[in-house]
Amino acid sequence: MTKRVVLADDMTLFRQLLAQYLTGAGYHVVGQAEDGKSLRDMVSALHPDLAVVDIRMPPAGRLEGLETAVWLRARHPGVAVLLLSEYLEAAHLATLVGGQATGVGYLLKNRVSDKDFLAAVERVAGGGCAVDPEVVSLMLATRRRDGSADLTPREREVLALMAEGWSNQAIADRLHLTPKTVETHIRSIFQSLGLATEAEHHRRVLAVLTYLRST
């Protein structure tokens, strides 16, 4: 079934091209909004499967996109939200995801031209999640003081790929490890973060968030 998508960005040229791109990739772009308010109206009216939202929108050009995304996820839990931004901020990710790590994505805007972008869109639209790998490195870079829940460098790498939404097999391929080794790392990560009892599909993103929050 064709996924229905709305786009929100005040950069018209970019938005239209993205619509074209997603249409070419088999999505049905049912609406385009220029600001948070019209996006809310549009989602409430159209009930799309996915909203791709730029964080910087009128009127103030600050965090309207984030605020709208949070509103959407609270009001329309069935609508997946992919937030695009010029920069990444761990606090924004925590705000966006809240307690529900499903159907949510947070990517740098220039990822749209990455070959993995469509895969990320697909994951998010399918109820999965996609977190920009830079978020993890951002947080790893700033997290120094608290010795607890410290991960090994390899575990961090695995965590970063998990955050991006990759499967165990994909992680194994990328890190040139066996899937079994990856599983061991992931178990260790869950253990360290006290997430042993969570359901698998939640666990992976929650692991990232928990780790980030522990900073």
């Binding site: 040229l13 050009g61 600050r62 920069y87 901020e89 749209v112 031209s113 951002l138």
Partner: protein, 580 residues
């Protein structure tokens, strides 16, 4: 000070010179006549010559020290009149006749002087009436005498002004004069006693020598008259009176010039003027130092076109205080004509002018400093706005274009991948294009970030510092407790301080770890960056640090760069959060 306002007018110096010249000439004539007359003992001649001369001289000195006070002039008039009385000793009919006009000339002058002392003018209506009466009676009697006195009857030169020989009329007039003279003398004594009793200690000190000498002389004269010329005591009493009279001008001089020691006044003033509230209480300070509660101080107010005191009332310009360029600063106005030492008054005025000038300069400096601060803050704020605008333009313009271009390239690549026959060289070219485009985009993002980080505008200081840390190749530890909403200029300045310090630590100090700490005290935001590098940051050197210092200074904050306790460098900025 305005010398024109101090004196009675431009003609006063001329009058002084004229009086002095006339006094000297008449004095010389009088002494010569007295010696030629032969009927006077030499002691009498010497003492009367001395008395007149002393009145003249003391008058001149008093006038020079108190140009605004007529006491000096009155003393000189007494001296001249005293000498003029002796012109009647001349054997020349013309000089003799003229001398007859001045036989009692010193009496009204002395009454005038005594009643006007020490302020130089007659303070009460009673004093004015008494003085005027004395002049009228004495000169009325003199005129009558000149017209009716046939001097040849007394073996004197011919009275050229004689109208009718009427000894009977003259005798009656003399009786009247004696009676009126007693009344006037009583009036004068009464006035002086009352004034002395009412006087404050300063005035008493001035009046005391004059009254003491007058008292001694008066007692001696009265006693002499009472015992008569033939009594054995008379030769003792007469010299006492003469010597007393001779010492009188000196008593006037002492009284007129008496003042608190100048140094004491100035010292009091200096101490008082040095107090923090000196400018507000300058009037009181001056009034106390000069012991003149009537003193008023006005500050120059161009908008009011005059001098205005603390209560907002206009003050007449008694003594205008000016700065070194001659611009008016203020004015001292006194109800009483000042009778301190003129040098003291000048010093007091100069000191008051200094305090006022200082006060004016302080106000000007404060105003200018406030202007400069405001203008600096505006400059920084304008520069920040400009940076934000440029960043936004880059974001909305070039960055969007490049992202669009990258996306188009990606779409082209997808299309290409779907082709049945793919050219590997073209595929390679497309990949290279995409890679270069990513680099260009990354460079542009870096540029925009350096100009003004979007994260700072959009998310605030702490996320911006987090982003700063994330971009660092070496570990940067950001420690930021709960911060309130910061004003944009403060947040931007704090960010740029941290960014510059981190950059320097990495680039110059080769630091391994860097700690950025931001904490908020009431009213102040503290940003400090510690590194473990080689140190040696020169606070004065480097455009980056100088620029930071200016930036921090524009917000009235302080920037401190010093060696850390365990090596490395500490950069600390304290930024005020409240409007000054």
């Amino acid at each position: 000070m305005d010398s024109a306002r101090r004196g009675d007018g431009g003609w006063t110096p001329l009058l002084v010179v004229l009086l002095a010249a006339v006094g000297v000439v008449i004095g010389a004539v009088a002494v010569t006549l007295k010696v030629a007359d032969g009927s006077h003992p030499w002691s009498d001649t010497v003492l009367s010559g001395l008395s007149g001369s002393l009145f003249l001289l003391a008058g001149v000195v008093t006038h020079l020290r108190r140009p605004g006070n007529r006491t000096g002039l009155l003393m000189m008039v007494v001296g001249v009149a005293f000498f003029a009385e002796d012109l009647q000793l001349s054997t020349d009919p013309a000089v003799f006749s003229a001398g007859l006009l001045f036989v009692h000339a010193s009496t009204p002058a002395i009454v005038h002087l005594v009643l006007a002392f020490p302020h130089g003018r007659l303070p009460t209506t009673a004093a004015r009436v008494l003085t005027a009466t004395t002049y009228a009676v004495v000169y009325g009697y003199t005129a009558l005498r000149v017209l009716t006195y046939d001097s040849t009857d007394f073996h004197r030169p011919e009275n050229l002004l004689l109208a009718a020989d009427r000894p009977d009329l003259l005798a009656t007039a003399t009786d009247v004069l004696d009676a009126v003279g007693v009344l006037i003398a009583a009036g004068v004594v009464l006035t002086l006693v009352r004034r002395f009793r009412a006087a404050d200690p300063g005035l008493r000190a001035a009046l005391a020598p004059v009254l003491l000498i007058a008292f001694i002389g008066g007692i001696a004269a009265l006693a002499g008259s009472a015992v008569g010329g033939r009594h054995s005591l008379y030769p003792v009493l007469a010299p006492v009176y003469r010597v007393a009279f001779c010492a009188w001008p000196l008593a006037f001089l002492a009284g007129a010039l008496w003042t608190r020691p100048r140094r004491a006044v100035i010292a009091d003033l200096l101490i008082a003027a040095g107090r923090p509230d000196a400018t507000g209480g300058l009037r009181d300070t001056l009034a106390v130092a000069l012991r003149d509660p009537s003193l008023r101080l006005g500050r120059w107010r161009p908008d009011a076109g005059g001098f205005v005191d603390d209560r907002g009332a206009l003050v007449s310009a008694g003594t205008v205080l000016r700065d070194r360029e001659g611009r008016p600063l203020g004015a001292l106005s006194r109800t009483e004509v000042p009778w301190e030492d003129v040098r003291t008054a000048e010093a007091v005025a100069a000191l008051a002018a200094l305090v006022l000038d200082n006060e004016r300069l302080a106000v000007e400096a404060r105003e200018r400093l406030a202007e400069v601060r405001a203008s600096r803050a505006r400059l920084v704020s304008a520069a920040d706005d400009e940076r934000r605008r440029v960043e936004r333009d880059l974001h909305d313009g070039a960055q969007q274009q490049l992202v669009v271009l990258a996306l188009m390239l990606r779409m082209a690549r997808h299309r290409f991948d779907e082709l049945p026959e793919r050219d590997p060289v073209l595929a390679d070219r497309l990949d290279q294009c995409a890679a270069r485009l990513d680099e260009a985009l990354a460079a542009l993002r870096e540029l925009a970030h350096g100009i003004h980080p979007a994260v700072l505008t959009e998310a605030g200081l702490v996320p911006a510092l987090g982003a700063l840390a994330a971009r660092s190749p070496r570990p940067v530890d950001v420690e930021a407790a709960d911060l309130p909403d910061l004003p944009a200029p403060v947040a931007a300045t704090a960010y740029f301080v941290a960014a510059e310090a981190v950059t320097n630590a990495l680039k110059h100090a080769r630091a391994e770890t860097i700690r950025v700490a931001v904490r908020c005290e009431p009213g102040t935001l503290h940003v400090s960056v510690h590194d473990d590098g080689v140190g040696g940051a020169d606070p004065a050197g480097g455009t980056g640090l100088v620029g930071l210092r200016d930036r921090v200074g524009a917000l009235d904050g302080t920037l401190e760069i010093r060696g850390g306790p365990a090596g490395g460098t500490v950069v600390h900025a304290a930024l005020p959060l409240e409007e000054r």
